[in-house]
Symmetry: C2
Subunit: 471 residues, 2 copies
């Protein structure tokens, strides 16, 4: 390979990896010559090659820039459906559990994982706190950390909300076993078997699980990939039938990745308040924003205590400890009681270890690092899907979190794709998981939290090939 070809490949790779983003200027010919220790002529030759490959372009008087790719078409949002009771046999949870199991094979490429890459977590620091607890105390007393939970942990959670402008009363917080339990308890506190609950379309499957577990009915409301749940449709539904609760994910919704604009958050809370309908807000990705500032929550707009806010450290700090919480507004007493009935208490050591970490360590520094990394990864994964997938592929524009939502040709069945990919050691999240009625059979969810490697690139290429074959 000639020297200018090698240089072109190197820079091309950097572009693909998102080191230079679309529209960004790349080093001038002189700079590149110095950086790479090659002649001006070699750089000019390499840049010409990259231009020929369509990766960069020259702009008069300005230099060389990474070409703006064709703006990817946005994914379609979901549609509004009639109420459905999750059937016992074709249940979402079975599919989700089997999907999760398939990720167990550690050598599979984990595009299908719902969890963030655990190597990003400051597990060593947190374990140090857990160890220190052992030295500090002679024994552990279950009683101390009974619901609502360890007082210091509750104080630390409350502090973070307060610092970010979310109105919070520490006595409202109840520690749970992850957000999963918080969501389950919140739903059980406000609705009973047979009741109808509004969810987003697509919706995060944990919402469907909670509904399924409690024998309730669900109605899915069209949800825009950038703006969130359709408020006009929601208003119509509320006007027509009795709705026991609404379950939404206003920040970095899984799978769509949108951040619901503040004005729409406010309108959602007001609309539901008018009808005294409680809303369960799943806000587990709140800390993983790509913007300049932390997003608001529905709590910011809640005047009547109708927002049951659910949070967790499992996406942002550690998934091993399963520390989540509920801030259930006026339903506090019910949720606390249900927590007690459901699992008695959340284990002590994890509660105290997380509290100590929050008090003493660099959680914000850790989060800044993670946010930066995920933002880059989102860009990288989007670029890679455009590169390897058929041109009719549509993708989401995540504003936080670590998943990309991909709309394939309607001819592609995501379960068939899932099985074909698994056979090649690659997992994907089939769209089937995100509704009760298979509204998203040609969609998949891809996890981009893991560092990009030659293996993952090859896997995504393979996946693109499979999609092309099926389409």
């Amino acid at each position: 390979m000639k020297l200018y070809e090698k240089l072109a490949d190197e820079i091309g790779e950097a572009v693909r990896r998102g080191v230079f983003a679309a529209g960004e200027r790349i080093p001038s010919v002189r700079q590149a010559s110095q950086q790479h220790g090659v002649s001006i002529k070699t750089v000019l030759h390499a840049y010409a090659l990259l231009e020929g490959r369509g990766l960069i372009e020259t702009r008069p008087q300005s230099g060389y820039f990474v070409r703006e790719r064709a703006v990817p078409k946005a994914v379609h949002g979901g549609r509004t459906a009639k109420p459905a009771t999750p059937a016992a046999e074709v249940d979402v949870s079975r599919l989700v559990l089997s999907t999760l199991r398939s990720i167990r094979a550690h050598d599979a490429v984990p595009f299908g994982s719902p969890y963030p890459d655990p190597t990003l977590f400051p597990w060593r620091r947190i374990n140090q706190y857990a160890n220190a607890i052992a030295r500090r105390h002679s024994s552990w007393n279950l009683i101390d950390d009974l619901p609502p939970g360890n007082p210091e942990l509750i104080r630390q959670i409350a502090r973070r909300y307060a610092e970010n402008g979310v109105p919070v009363d520490p006595s409202e917080i109840i520690v749970t076993l992850g957000a999963t339990e918080a969501i389950n308890l919140s739903l059980q506190a406000v609705a009973k078997p047979g009741d109808t609950v509004v969810v987003e379309s697509p919706t995060y499957y944990a919402m469907l699980h909670a509904i399924e577990r409690l024998g309730m009915r669900a109605i899915a409301v069209a949800t825009h990939p950038a703006e969130g749940i359709d408020l006009d449709v929601l208003a119509q539904i509320i006007g027509k039938q009795k709705i026991a609760a609404c379950m939404v994910m206003p920040n970095f919704q899984n799978p769509l990745g949108f951040q619901m604009p503040d004005e729409r958050k406010r309108r959602l809370v007001e609309l539901l308040s008018e009808h005294d309908i409680p809303v369960i807000e799943n806000d587990v990705y709140q800390e993983l924003y790509f913007g300049e500032t932390r997003p608001t929550t529905l709590k910011n707009f809640d005047m009547k205590g109708l927002v049951l806010h659910c949070g967790s450290f499992s996406k942002s700090l550690t998934a091993s400890y399963r520390i989540g919480w509920a801030m259930p507004g006026r339903y506090r007493a019910q949720v606390e009681k249900l927590k007690f009935l459901n699992t008695l208490t959340t284990p002590s050591v994890p509660q105290v270890a997380v509290a100590d970490y929050l008090r003493q360590d660099g959680y914000d520094r850790h989060l800044r690092h993670v946010r930066r990394f995920y933002r880059q990864q989102a860009r990288l994964m989007s670029a890679m899907v455009q590169r390897f997938f058929p041109p009719d592929t549509r993708i989401s524009t995540p504003q936080g979190g670590y998943v990309l939502w991909v709309e394939l040709s309607p001819r592609v069945d995501s379960m068939r794709l899932y099985r074909a990919a698994l056979a090649q050691g690659i997992t994907v999240g089939p769209g089937y998981m995100f509704s009760m009625r298979n509204d998203f059979r040609h969609f998949i969810r891809l996890n981009y939290s893991y560092p990009w490697t030659a293996q993952s690139e090859a896997a995504l290429k393979t996946l693109g090939g499979l999609v092309a074959t099926m389409a």
Copy 2:
């Protein structure tokens, strides 16, 4: 105080503390003279005094013995009641939670605690394993320990059952967040809202909580303080109405403390099997037996996979980690799915730390120590209640575990006693917690897991005084 009086007090105290048990021989006059460095005459004088106090007796040709106390009258068992739906307002869980909260005050004497003294746990050893995990692994993966749970922990649990003759298939075991979750999931797997469930009378309140949480109906069946649930009454009930499940605690039932005889365990399983009624066996005290050998479980007699066996390490190893499990027989798939829906997964580090402890450390040695201690404590607490409580008091004869069930004069209301005792810094477990219809309003449960101190002795004396006043 004269020397012989001092010696008499010392030996009398040893008798009261259970150092010398009823019917046991105390040191000969010569031995006592040597041990205490006093004259033969002083010992003779002291022993005469103790004889006069009714604490010891001489037996011809044999020496001095601790007097057999009058055999305490056994507590009454419960009665069979008509089915009852736990009412939302007068719920058992609220009372239980407030009772537990009252134990939070660390300076209160914890007779009301349902938990074993945590200082008995080998917490230092277990924490060492947790620390070692941190060194061994670079990160923790939620996926590995998804339901059914960490494979090594499951293997260790299965091994213990196998070694004790309980037929077990490791693939049947599902790790849960304590027995609380195991019981909840088991009940939800076999019965639905509105169904009728049979419980013991008195029954452990966690059973009532599970029924309350799921909106089911309960029917309490008379339970004998030594033999367990009345099988004839149970047979009649089954013959007359549809029963969705039966919930029992055949080993060291809380609060009665009995070990159901093997023959009755067999008959119970057979009776329910004939009608295909699943039985939820809460066996959390199994390791805390006072006899020579580990008791059998209902699983030993289960031919049809109808026993949903629930266990936990919270009573015998560590309450901080909240590691429990279910062995749900033919309902395995349902329970696993419900575990996934309820709390997704049990935290990893606690699972692995307990597995490592079980594999490498002296769990059996620890258990032998705990069993010996609780056996002594049971004797001591029984003797103390006889000493300080009115003569019409009846007590249970625990065959394992760490609670004593005390029947007071019918004129004593245990809630009034509870509040009066709490005002004096003493907690008790009011009998109200053990039924839905206040069948045990003049009963209390006392925890004897904590080492006996001057403070606890004074507290029990105070308690006896309060009872006498109320009677």
